[in-house]
């Protein structure tokens, strides 16, 4: 790995607000999408000459159809409650990474062009003309927000900076300043079916390999079916699960759970991606188009239930939007919610005592749990609010003996983002990602020091990839991060416990 050209933040006991360093991260920008990538999504290939008017027209259109953004633009009182809550501010000290200051990049333009006081009194109310420089600032700082919503939890009005970020990114897309990373991936899903661009034959190959590996290791005939007509369950999982480490360990875990429970299941080569990068720009049409593949696969394969694998933003989209975007699902088994999270699926089997575990198999692990932002603050699980916190923890406790929580201000709805969510998991943003991870790393360090924690479980593909990259930079083992179903996989007893 190349040496980074920036200093990795020193680990501290607490993540205290740093001194302000204006402009410290002004240089951080993702690569701009090229013409081919942009045009595949019906965006202009480069910055259009009438960007000023088009941007304002787009903003007006978003305001018209988004009550949240309207209320948020007008209701903020600049109380400062959010100013020390963003992991990117805590990690970089750049005041533009304070949530309200990030919002002001958009709010100032809104004031100038859409409100009476802004038109009359300008700078008195913080109004600013939409200029090329402002657009560049947007491109920098709205790609320094992972849309994790931690600020929203602390805001007296629940103002959600993610809504600003999505709107600004969509405006940037519309004038031809798209982000290469996310837009290229969306294009890949439309063409091939998943974020990684893995075609069907490659998937089948990989899954056959996994069957052999598991057979060799356990002696059990655990199947990894794909495109299986008439299976009970369709599993939609992030494509990273098919080959990235440690993701694949969780995929093996899901397969073992299905095997042990004796429930037939299948993957789909058509809907081989749970992730939905349309969320990152709040583009409903893209979100719908990406999700539609799931509906098509459900109909084609004739399954009765849909289960979603370990992926944070995918679960946000699946939990909140699938019913609205690609529903209704009245033809599926009415005994189960649509969709279900793999943790709900496994948890239910555990409750029914349909699975048997050798907890000691995980005894070499001292485990903590990292709540992923989109699961924690934008979705739920189970029958009561907060199930998204309880179910994964209940599974961990069922399959392992050693579990310790990180500090209360850094978990559950107050969890810190991994630093790589919301479309920022790309190498040119590495400095931002490493610095943004520092609050989580600080909290982890505490449980490592006090409880000898050596495994951080999580249920998000982006968290897993991000932590694999940044853990070593903070002096931790890369292999410390893994999925909840990786733990399940280690402890589950195969073969002898089918009911």
């Amino acid at each position: 790995m190349a040496t980074p050209s920036f200093a990795v933040p020193a680990l501290a006991e607490e993540s205290l607000p740093p001194p302000l360093q204006p402009g410290a991260m002004a240089h951080s920008k993702p690569y701009v999408a090229n013409k081919a990538i942009q045009e595949a999504l019906d965006y202009p290939g480069e910055l259009v000459s009438d960007w000023h008017d088009r941007a304002l027209t787009k903003l007006a259109e978003i305001l018209k159809r988004n009550r949240a953004l309207q209320v948020y633009l007008d209701a903020c009182v600049h109380c400062g409650a959010c100013t020390d809550k963003c992991h990117y501010f805590l990690g970089t000290g750049d005041p533009r990474n304070m949530p309200v200051a990030r919002q002001e990049l958009l709010r100032s333009v809104y004031r100038r062009h859409f409100t009476l006081p802004g038109k009359l009194f300008g700078s008195l109310v913080g109004a600013q003309e939409l200029t090329k420089e402002r657009l560049e600032e947007w491109y920098s700082y709205f790609y320094q927000c992972s849309e994790c919503r931690r600020c929203s939890v602390f805001c007296p009005y629940g103002i959600d900076t993610a809504e600003f970020t999505m709107a600004a990114r969509e405006v940037l897309n519309t004038v031809g300043m798209g982000q290469k990373y996310a837009n290229e991936i969306i294009g890949k899903v439309h063409r091939i079916g998943n974020n990684l661009g893995l075609p069907g034959p490659a998937l089948i190959d990989t899954l056959e390999g996994l069957e052999e590996d598991v057979k060799e290791e356990t002696g059990a005939e655990v199947r990894f079916p794909i495109d299986q007509q008439g299976a009970e369950v369709l599993l939609v999982t992030p494509s990273a699960d098919f080959f990235a480490e440690p993701h694949v360990e969780s995929l093996i875990g899901y397969a073992k759970v299905f095997h042990a429970a004796g429930i037939s299941w299948t993957l789909s080569s058509h809907a081989s991606e749970a992730g939905n990068f349309g969320l990152f720009t709040g583009n409903e049409a893209q979100m719908q188009k990406i999700s539609q593949r799931v509906r098509e696969a459900v109909l084609e394969l004739g399954v009765k239930r849909i289960v979603v694998g370990e992926c944070g933003h995918a679960w946000r989209v699946a939990y909140n939007y699938w019913q609205k975007l690609i529903g209704p699902f009245d033809f599926l088994d009415p005994r189960y919610p649509v969709p279900q999270h793999i943790c709900e699926f496994t948890h239910e089997l555990i409750e029914r005592q349909a699975l048997v575990f050798d907890k000691e198999a995980n005894d070499h692990r001292i485990i903590t749990f990292h709540d992923s932002c989109n699961v924690a603050r934008a979705s739920s699980m189970g029958k009561v609010p907060g199930g998204q916190f309880e179910l994964p923890r209940a599974i961990i406790r069922a399959v392992a003996n050693h579990f310790h929580e990180m500090a209360p201000d850094t978990i559950r709805e107050k969890t810190f983002c991994c630093g790589g969510g919301g479309g920022l998991l790309t190498d040119e943003l590495l400095e931002l990602r490493v610095k943004g991870a520092s609050p989580r790393m600080n909290a982890l360090k505490q449980v490592v020091d006090h409880h000898q924690v050596n495994f951080m479980a999580t249920i998000c593909a982006i968290c897993k990839a991000q932590f694999s990259k940044v853990l070593p930079m903070y002096g931790f083992e890369m292999g410390m991060v893994g999925g909840v179903h990786q733990l399940v996989s280690t402890a589950i007893r195969l073969g002898r416990n089918c009911e």
Partner: protein, 233 residues
């Protein structure tokens, strides 16, 4: 007799009521679209009502965020509420007993209100993060509220106003029997109040309706709830 105070009072009321109605209607016209409740969120409307009640009465989220801002902010708002209720005595005849009972509390709440404002202002000036995000209008807003509180306290405790004349003026506004407004600090007080009420529809004072309209807070978690069949689905 000078009709200007009465005309201004009607104008201010009209701007406040119509402006606020227009803004709220504008908010309501925009669809909420895809649900964005910040979770864990209640799944029923009763749960949402309880969540909002906690936000409005004790500033539950702010309490988690920052104890100083919460302390000064809550004191200011609670004191303002008391002061406003006390002011009903200038608009109702006969004055209800509970308003009379509030009178001493409301008088001293004026001090708490100004204390809260000064605390919030100190944070705006002294905490670098909050100073960074403050616009000139944020300071002017505090100045305006401070002026209202200070002139009010002056009338309560130092230079008393002719309350009989004042009440004749306010009641006259309802029956179109206009009478003269007494002078002194009252004019400063009412002018500042007038400005404040007129800017409600175009300023951050919209946080008052905003707290009830914020889709991340004021909405139930409706995830996975089946919806009606979509066109072409």
């Amino acid at each position: 007799m000078d009709l200007a105070p009465a005309i201004l009072a009607y104008l201010v009321t009209a701007v406040l009521v119509l402006g606020l109605a227009w803004r709220i209607a504008k908010f309501m016209r925009a669809p909420v679209g895809l649900p964005i409740a910040v979770t864990p969120a209640p799944r029923t409307s009763a749960g949402v009502a309880w969540r909002l009640t906690k936000e409005v009465l004790v500033f539950a989220s702010l309490f988690q965020s920052n104890k100083w801002t919460w302390f000064f902010g809550w004191i200011f708002h609670a004191a303002l509420a008391l002061v406003l209720l006390r002011h009903l005595r200038y608009f109702l005849e006969p004055v209800p007993t509970w308003v009379l009972w509030l009178q001493p509390w409301g008088r001293y709440a004026g001090f708490a209100m100004v204390f809260g404002l000064l605390g919030l202002w100190a944070r705006r000036l002294l905490v670098a993060r909050v100073r960074f995000i403050s616009t000139p209008s944020d300071h002017l807003m505090l100045l305006l509220l401070g002026l209202i509180g200070f002139s009010g306290l002056m009338m309560s405790f130092v230079i008393h106003t002719d309350l009989i004349a004042l009440k004749r003026f306010t009641l006259g506004l309802f029956t179109f029997e206009w009478s003269a407004l007494p002078g002194g600090p009252l004019l400063v007080h009412l002018l500042a109040v007038g400005v404040l009420l007129m800017i409600v529809p175009v300023s951050k004072l919209l946080h008052v309706p905003g707290v009830f309209l914020s889709p991340s807070r004021a909405r139930a978690d409706t995830g996975r709830r089946p919806v009606a069949r979509r066109e072409g689905a």
